[in-house]
């Protein structure tokens, strides 16, 4: 297995962090449409978290299938 670079490791976390901070700021700037935008930006990390929490990510599934394949044969 190859080592990931810091860029690969932190790409998604940085995106989620920027989304959170932008949401926190947008809510301060104004009401109405700003609050809606703030809600959406802040919800993004929660949605991403929910997606990974509930469903096993694809690569792990593939690895598990590879591991069980020889036994079936």
């Amino acid at each position: 297995m190859t080592h990931k670079t810091n860029g690969q490791i932190f790409a998604l976390p940085i995106l989620l962090g920027v989304s959170t901070v932008a949401g926190l700021g947008a809510g301060l700037i104004g009401d109405g449409v700003w609050d809606v935008g703030a809600g959406l930006l802040l919800a993004l990390p929660l949605v991403v978290n929910g997606r990974y929490w509930v469903r096993p990510p694809e690569p792990v599934l593939r690895r598990q299938q590879l591991r069980t394949a020889p036994i079936r044969r």
Binding site: H3, N6, I9, T20, I29, N49, W53, P59
Partner: protein, 377 residues
């Protein structure tokens, strides 16, 4: 990253977390209902009905309101006047002396248009939870202590992010290894939740710490930015006959007509000098409403001495408040705040669980765990 570096960061993460976790759990648990404090208070103690009057009914003079407050709390002096955001209500805080403890103060509410006395604010269950959250009923130093716990929490977040890199070097984002040991499953969840809540937890943690330093920061401002005003304390003591508060408010408001009054601090209280009415105006837009502009009016003569824009550190402190409370973006934001809060509780709880269920052996064993993404045979 060398093993030595990882070990250092591991030890920082371990100790900062261990010290602050119990307090952070208390803060997250008490903070959860506080997010909805307006809703819960409005439900437990519905706002009293007010007389229906035409929308343009003028307000009474603040001096008339103060007269009513004097009758309602005889023998006490006014300390603060503040204004309701939504309804025409004026709140008057009175106490035996300017330096009275909050417990000895009285909070009175009046209809700004008629001067009718409204049911007073009664501290309820939310006030109790807030006090627990702020200083655990142990006073100033306990509040500062919780502020320091907030800093440790932030250090735990930073060191956790540093350890995230070697841990995840062979794993895809969000990997949760199911069907393996329970501890490994929680190690993955701790990492996923920690990295997802990173920005929110940092902002709420750091702004919480800033909030605990309100009194010392205000003290610095008074000592520096308000030095000239404080210098006026050498003047003769205030006579019993005070200048009109309404005239003081009008004088400051003429300097910034687009702003609205937030509160007025009377001579001798924390937010004023011994000689002035300190009139705090706030902006009328959502962003500027967090920013305050104080004007200082001589309480003996009614002369406007100065309008002093707050320095950056006071502005930063004021801006930190909504960012900590999450009460500035409607109900949707409060629900998001609550979810982040619960996720943070899980991060804290799983961190504690991971430490309690650690394998024996020296801390090098934990470094190995970080480098091998938890896969130690």
């Amino acid at each position: 990253m060398t093993r030595g570096t990882i070990k250092t960061w591991y030890l920082v993460h371990k100790w900062t977390s261990l010290i602050c976790t119990a307090f952070l759990l208390m803060l997250c648990v008490t903070g959860l209902p506080l997010i909805f404090d307006e809703e819960i208070d409005g439900w437990l103690d519905p706002p009293a009905p007010m007389a229906t009057l035409p929308a343009n009914t003028p307000s009474l003079s603040l001096d008339a309101i103060l007269g009513r407050a004097e009758k309602a709390a005889p023998g006490e002096i006014p300390l603060y006047i503040s204004f309701d955001d939504e309804r025409p209500i004026v709140y008057v805080t009175t106490g035996p002396t300017p330096d009275a403890a909050p417990a000895a103060m009285h909070f009175l509410a009046f209809d700004a248009r008629t001067g009718a006395k409204m049911p007073p604010y009664v501290p309820g269950v939310m006030a109790f939870i807030l006090k627990l959250h702020t200083d655990m009923f142990l006073g100033f130093w306990a509040e500062i202590f919780l502020g320091v716990m907030g800093l440790l929490f932030f250090a735990a977040i930073v060191s956790g992010v540093v350890l995230y890199a070697p841990f995840m070097s062979k794993l895809d984002f969000g990997t949760l290894r199911r069907g393996r040991s329970k501890r490994l499953g929680w190690l993955d969840r701790h990492n996923l939740l920690g990295i997802v809540t990173l920005a929110w937890a940092s902002v709420v943690g750091v702004t919480g710490t800033i909030n605990t330093f309100v009194v010392p920061i205000t003290g610095i401002w008074k000592a520096n930015g308000l030095a000239e005003i404080i210098a006026s304390e050498a003047r003769t003591p205030l006579p019993a006959q005070r200048a009109s508060v309404q005239v003081a408010l009008d004088a400051v408001q003429r300097e910034a007509p687009e702003m609205k009054p937030q509160f007025i601090a009377f001579p001798g209280v924390v937010f004023s000098s011994h000689h002035h009415y300190a009139v705090f105006l706030k902006g009328a837009t959502p962003l500027t409403s967090k920013m305050l502009l104080p004007g200082f009016v001589d309480a003996a003569t009614g002369r406007l001495d100065a309008v002093v824009p707050m320095p950056w550190y006071m502005q930063a402190m004021l801006l930190a408040q909504p960012l900590h409370f999450g009460n500035y973006g409607g109900l949707a934001m409060k629900i998001i705040w609550a979810i982040f809060d619960i996720l943070t509780i899980i991060v804290l709880g799983s961190g504690l669980y991971l430490w309690l269920r650690r394998r024996g052996g020296p801390s090098d064993q934990r470094v190995r765990e970080v480098v091998m993404a938890g896969e130690i045979a």
